[in-house]
Subunit: 767 residues, 2 copies
């Protein structure tokens, strides 16, 4: 828990230089535009503790798997989005002193980093003295441009209280490594470098093994009082830039503007790399940094228009949700179905930038609510395109006949994870992929997605479950042995209730969608049936399994049990654990965690979250009261689901507590791990906490429902939602709500159970 | 399954050069003397497929742990007995051609490797042509000397059909690496090298990190028809030797004798390394190779006198058991309590040469039966000396108060293994340590071991179990959650019957021994009670747990279940598996194995083996018939226990089948893994199969019992046993047994239930 970020509705600000917090700040001050991003690393040379990180979406390296003891079925590699070109680099000497925030001879007086979330840029102000008494001030401002996705812009200003000599190398640096590399390999190799048109240094390099080709190029200018300073250009295999050597009079400002192009062969033909960069950078130079920051702000204004959530009366909560939304759109903008959302986005190396079930369970509802449906559809298509690999993956695990097991962690559809209890057994992820399709279709109404793409995925997933279950003779029911549920503090358990429930649901949903396509889209059905080699007997087996699935239940209380044998554990509430032993994952050995009753994140309750309408409120309440006290919430994905359920269970204070824990998880470094990067996917959970929790938004049938229950401190909550053809603005106050139908035709919604008609274009006030 | 080793009662022989089998043969033709050993690698340069291996007992390297995902409690390193000085090296050129078995220009005509088990040496005969038409014959013979434990002896003879030029470097090679190195590190560093007394090249070097110091030194002579050939000596940091350059007339023999000293600081002061080597090698040179091979044969004759098992009528069985006994004594001779028995002995790198529970469960009974009791006592003392580390190990896993958890894999008492399901959960090993004490005391009658050493270990182990269990409210019994039993094809199960049973037994046995020491050895008790901080309430808790332990049982059949939920599995006998899918560990993914019913090695049946007298024969039979058909025997430790139980269950054919599978496991490379080394610890199981299986030997109360049941083909089985003060020779024939009391006073034994008195020194015939 840290508390050094100033509360402000639109800004993230750190005052003072905190070297011991630098990695945390670097994570928080990350910037990105969905295509590329970077941590808040310094521009200058930096000798202190840092995690350097610049990333290009979709450009990864297959890092050879490292395990202690190989098990059959482990993947050969872990695909990692790798640390890439550091485009913001400026190596600086003043009066012969190397400028380095961490160096002793830079005596910091004032230091401020700030993230302007409204306008989408990272700023820094630094005042310090050199050993010769010189007082310096450096101001910088940079962004990954939201409109020009391959463009980075940096404004860098130096001034002093006396005349100084400034030597600078304003350069591109591709000589970078990952701190997370299994065998300390270098991931990049140089291709070629050069100076184009006499002023554009560039570097061509590529990833080893995967051969992704990248070009970095830059243009820059340096001026004092509008007077251009001359630059000389240099290039080496992995470094190229412009050298500046000038004198700066006291009180004047040396104004450097740097424009960097980062092109990859995902978006550009390598043959045309240099000319594309030239075009982009010429235009950038022409516009100038100021104008580019303006268009950046305009692009963000459009995003905020659609996605902002306004909270009045609670600035900490306001800052939290904005930071979360800001980071989400920095990570993923949805214009490229090859990309997905890594748990750390562009803010760190952990989890390798790969895709997890977080996407379907957490991120999808966010993008459904506040982005064009094409964004969510791209998330779904990502999985559709990887169906073949998921079928191969199931085959590797001995489950054939067109069954698919989507990987736990993936970049290109191949499994990357290598712990057997996760890789092979945390199979509920497969259900989340199916649930994502369900969620998308019911939210957008885009039924046509099912015959076009969805059904193939649903059939393959259903086929997996149909083979993965086994028949228990003594129980006379279908069981699912050897799984790991969402609560990863249990491994290789039998009959995880959530997994069994989800599997049965998948079987029923796939059968139902299959029937729908068969009758409503017969041509599609013909194509699909041929493609998947359909056999009509399959649905009978699916129905049998779905209706004869075994669910572990406590005979005494009637509670659904997380898994077989759960009641054999000693059930001691988390509140009785010594704080010195928290988080248990850092203090207890793994076996002790496994045999304890402690739950890492919602497991049975994840089922209640997904399938809320299958259970009455009383049943929900009883399960909440049984499981939540045993839950340590040591996954960032835990508080948000518990917050939503706490609202439903009538526990508003708990819900608010969980809200802050998810909304300010990184801002307050609550789990003491923000240094590794921000928890991007759980940030979508924060949005859900507000939309589904405090606003009580649900889709039932064809309609949106709201059941507002604002936290005590909140005077007003307002946000916008896309729902099918409509765009709806919802403003909630205690007992005085307003619905504004901004786009689309008339719409009927339900608020606290009451039917409300909101005609096209009009506002409705509710008492 | 391979079948290229000729059946012979005393010899292991390979005829012909089989490059594709070379690694297997290298394992089979390993030699050793308990202190050092080596694989059957060629003397000459070798460019083919090989696993070079020379090892020094107790000299290890802490190889930094490699895991995919770190879990709290994992050890920092895996201690590995490392590949060491290659003392047999001879680099040879004839007529300018480099001699190399794998080289194309050595056209092999005759090739033979043979292990003379009776006399303890490895021989090789090789006839081949060079491209120039020269026909060469090389004969070599070498041993690790059984009397002079630091001495290696090599006799090497070259002859040809024409006059040849021979250039040889007869050298010591410390520039060696492990193939199994987690980060490809070099484990050795050079210290110093030199030539002593003008004719003894030597190398001092040491292991990195652990700093074990080793000296290699050699003396050699080369002669043609008694005419000494001149040698020149050389030394470099990791290589030193003698160069020979001579002409050899057709039909004459160049006779090279090489004596190598391998000294480690485990046995010699490094300051005196060179003088100790000089003394050893001068004496060796003086005696000459012939005489040393004679004393080697004499030392082996003494071992065979005591440990041989003679089988008449079944040479395959005879060869198998002798090979097993031979390898065991090559690995461990019991004169050093710092050493133990790695699963591969000195025959390979796998398992790092570390100690497993194999020692207590398999090797101890062997050494009890056919070696001086000091040998077994040293095996027990090894664990006693590591008690403090075992206590630390338990603390690391959150179990304190003087409780000990012995490591799964260790060199110096610290845990080396790093798979959570084994390291943290395969805790039944702790019970085997206690069972070893019980086994030793009842076999040797050395009750005094308990107050002197044993009780401290028993208390610490009992304390572990007393904390490791937990109370199940619904069952009203003690349960043991999250364990891995001997069947490692199940992980993290609840209530493994074997573990629960063994834990309860440990608690009772520790309490019983504690009472005995308290009353019979009160002074020892005072010392122990003070040392362990004894609290009298502990035994009450132990008794409560032991008597209220939960044992999973099938309500329908009354069978003990391997673990909770076992009957939920689909129970399809192994016989119905496709041979193409065997061994399943190579063909199935780990999750599929885990959720299957297939058993890697005896689990419930291991309990029946340990605690046979707790159950009647009918109960044993029923469990055997339930579990054996589900057992894939993919551990080398599986067939032996099943063989013994099959005899007890009245299934002699099955018992014989399992016997051959264990006795000839490596000779026939049954598990297709002998290339990595021989299965040394399971070789002790082969001995048990004969002693406890076919001879039906048991200790009950104060007496030895026999229940002979010879396989149909065996006309006679004879072996010797130490039992307490006696040495007994047992010769069994179908219905005509003979007992010979070779040493000690009168003894009473039971044969097939009949009491037999065998007076001191006399023979008794039984009809």
């Amino acid at each position: 828990m840290k508390d050094y970020i100033r509360i402000h509705p639109w800004e993230i600000r750190e005052e003072g230089w905190n070297p011991q917090l630098n990695r945390v700040s670097e994570s928080l001050f990350s910037i990105g535009n969905g295509r590329m991003g970077q941590r808040g690393n310094a521009e200058e040379d930096f000798s202190g503790d840092t995690l350097p990180g610049s990333y290009i979406g979709g450009v990864y390296y297959p890092d050879k798997t490292r395990v202690g003891w190989w098990k059959n079925g482990y993947p050969e590699y872990f695909a990692k989005v790798l640390n890439a070109l550091r485009w913001q680099a400026i190596s600086l000497k003043v009066n012969g002193f190397r400028i380095d925030l961490a160096s002793e001879h830079c005596r910091t007086k004032v230091f401020r980093r700030s993230l302007n979330m409204q306008e989408g840029w990272l700023g820094r102000m630094w005042e310090f003295n050199l050993p010769d008494g010189t007082a310096l001030r450096i101001e910088s401002k940079r962004c990954c441009h939201m409109e020009h996705k391959d463009l980075g812009v940096l404004q860098y200003r130096i001034s002093s209280d006396r005349k100084i000599r400034v030597e600078a190398d304003i350069y591109l640096d591709a000589d970078v490594r990952n701190q997370d590399a299994n065998y300390d390999e270098v991931f990049w190799e140089a291709h070629e470098s050069g100076i184009s048109s006499g002023h554009m240094p560039w570097l061509r390099h590529q990833t080893r093994k995967t051969g992704f080709r990248v070009l970095g190029a830059q243009r820059c200018r340096a001026a004092i009082q509008g007077r251009s300073q001359s630059l000389t250009f240099h290039h080496q295999p992995l470094r190229a830039g412009a050298l500046l050597d000038c004198e700066l009079e006291a009180g004047l400002v040396l104004d450097i503007e740097k424009f960097a192009a980062v092109l990859s062969d995902l978006h550009h033909a390598p043959d045309a790399f240099v000319s594309a960069a030239e075009k982009l950078l010429n235009s950038a130079v022409e516009q100038g940094a100021e104008a580019l920051f303006e268009s950046q702000a305009a692009a963000w204004a459009r995003i905020w228009q659609e996605a902002d959530m306004e909270i009045e009366g609670d600035d900490a909560a306001q800052q939290g949700i904005r930071f979360n939304i800001f980071q989400l759109f920095q990570t993923y903008t949805g214009d490229d179905a090859r990309l997905n959302i890594g748990p750390k986005g562009f803010t760190g190396e952990k989890y390798g930038g790969s895709t997890y079930w977080d996407t379907e369970a957490y991120c999808l509802p966010f993008y459904l609510g506040c982005a064009d449906p094409s964004v969510s559809r791209n998330l779904l298509l990502y999985r559709y395109k990887q169906l073949d690999k998921a079928i191969e993956n199931a085959q590797k695990l001995g489950i054939g006949k067109g069954a698919a097991l989507y990987p736990m962690v993936t970049m290109n559809g191949e499994e990357c994870h290598n712990e057997w209890e996760i890789t092979f057994e945390e199979i509920h992820r497969n259900g989340a992929i199916a649930y994502g399709i369900y969620d998308y279709v019911r939210y957008t109404g885009d039924e046509a997605y099912v015959p076009a793409y969805g059904l193939e995925v649903l059939i393959a997933i259903a086929r997996y479950w149909a083979q993965r279950v086994s028949w228990s003779k003594p129980r006379g029911q279908w069981v699912m042995l050897g799984v790991t549920g969402p609560n990863e503090f249990e491994n290789n358990v039998n009959n995880n209730w959530y997994t069994n429930y989800l599997a049965a649901w998948c079987l029923r949903y796939a059968a139902e969608q299959l029937e729908l396509v068969k009758h409503k889209y017969p041509q599609d059905w013909q194509r699909i049936a041929a493609k998947v080699g359909w056999n009509d007997s399959e649905t009978a087996r699916w129905a049998d399994i779905a209706s004869n699935m075994y669910y572990p239940t406590d005979p005494e209380s009637g509670l659904f049990l997380q898994q077989d044998g759960f009641m054999d554990k000693e059930l001691i509430p988390v509140s009785e654990l010594s704080p010195a032993e928290r988080p248990i994952v850092e203090h207890w050995s793994w076996d002790r965690i496994l045999r304890s009753c402690y739950i890492k994140q919602a497991d049975v309750l994840q089922g209640f979250y997904f399938f809320e309408d299958d259970f009455d409120r009383e049943t929900l309440r009883r399960h909440y009261h049984f499981y939540e006290p045993l839950t340590v919430h040591e996954s960032s994905l835990s508080p948000c689901v518990h917050s939503i359920l706490a609202v439903a269970a009538g526990l508003p204070d708990k819900a608010y507590e969980f809200y802050l824990r998810t909304a300010r998880l990184d801002l307050n470094d609550i789990n003491n791990d923000t240094r590794d990067g921000c928890h991007i996917t759980s940030m979508a959970g924060t949005w859900m906490t507000i939309a589904k929790g405090f606003a009580g938004m649900r889709v039932r049938g064809q309609h949106l429902h709201f059941e507002p229950a604002l936290p005590a401190a909140w005077q007003r909550l307002a946000f916008q939602l896309r729902f099918r053809g409509n765009v709806l603005r919802i403003a909630l106050r205690r007992g005085a709500h307003e619905l504004h139908n901004l786009e689309g035709g008339d719409i009927t919604v339900f608020v606290s159970g009451n039917k409300v008609q909101v005609p096209a274009g009009s506002k409705v006030q509710l008492a």
